[in-house]
Amino acid sequence: MVIIDVIVTLFLAAGIFFMFTGVIGLLRFPDFYTRLHATGKCDTLGEVLIIVGLLLDHIYYYVYLLPEAPLSVKLVPVKLIFLIVFIFLANPTATHAIMKAAYKTGVKPWKLGEERR
């Protein structure tokens, strides 16, 4: 068992843990604004960790160990890095847009002591 396998499994396990936390927060929180807190933060980081894990696996097995691979296999890390940058910019913006729409339409925030909605 190579050391890179252990590192990749750690990244994937951490990513899945944060995704589960995000979805449990979506089910458990009592109000719309607090649910967006859970998914907007945990989803983004969980995704990025999983894709970083896959990127490390690809760089070790397909670029470092096989130097005669075709160029389109060696350029896959560029696509994955672009996907990571795009997710970091796009997910908070979409969260903010839907929260602004809810605030202007008049959805009332939840204070401590009220019932669930």
């Binding site: 396998d5 979506l26 999983i50 909605r117």
Partner: protein, 88 residues
């Protein structure tokens, strides 16, 4: 290493099933839009993992495209719900 990828893909599919509960139940339209955006985000990761599992490098491009589509779809929803029209 391939079995670890398959296990991660099954766990992601399970979280998609859990967030369908909020998409069906959530009182009002805003909870449903948030749940659909979450499902779209998880589909992007699922496509990359399937691309590694079945050894088809075409799926990375498809996941990049779907990330852009999901973002623009959520923005269009938010704009429509705020103003009543998308493009004046």
């Amino acid at each position: 290493m391939i079995e670890v990828f398959l296990a991660i893909a099954v766990l992601i599919a399970f979280t998609i099933l859990l967030s369908l509960y909020r998409a069906a139940l959530g009182p009002g339209v805003f909870n449903r839009v948030a749940a659909v955006s979450v499902i779209g985000t998880k589909t992007i990761v699922l496509l990359v993992i399937i691309g590694y599992y079945f050894e088809r490098p075409l799926f990375f491009d498809i996941s990049l495209l779907y990330a852009i589509l999901n973002f623009i779809g959520t923005l269009a929803f938010a704009k429509y719900l705020e103003r009543g029209e998308v493009w004046s």
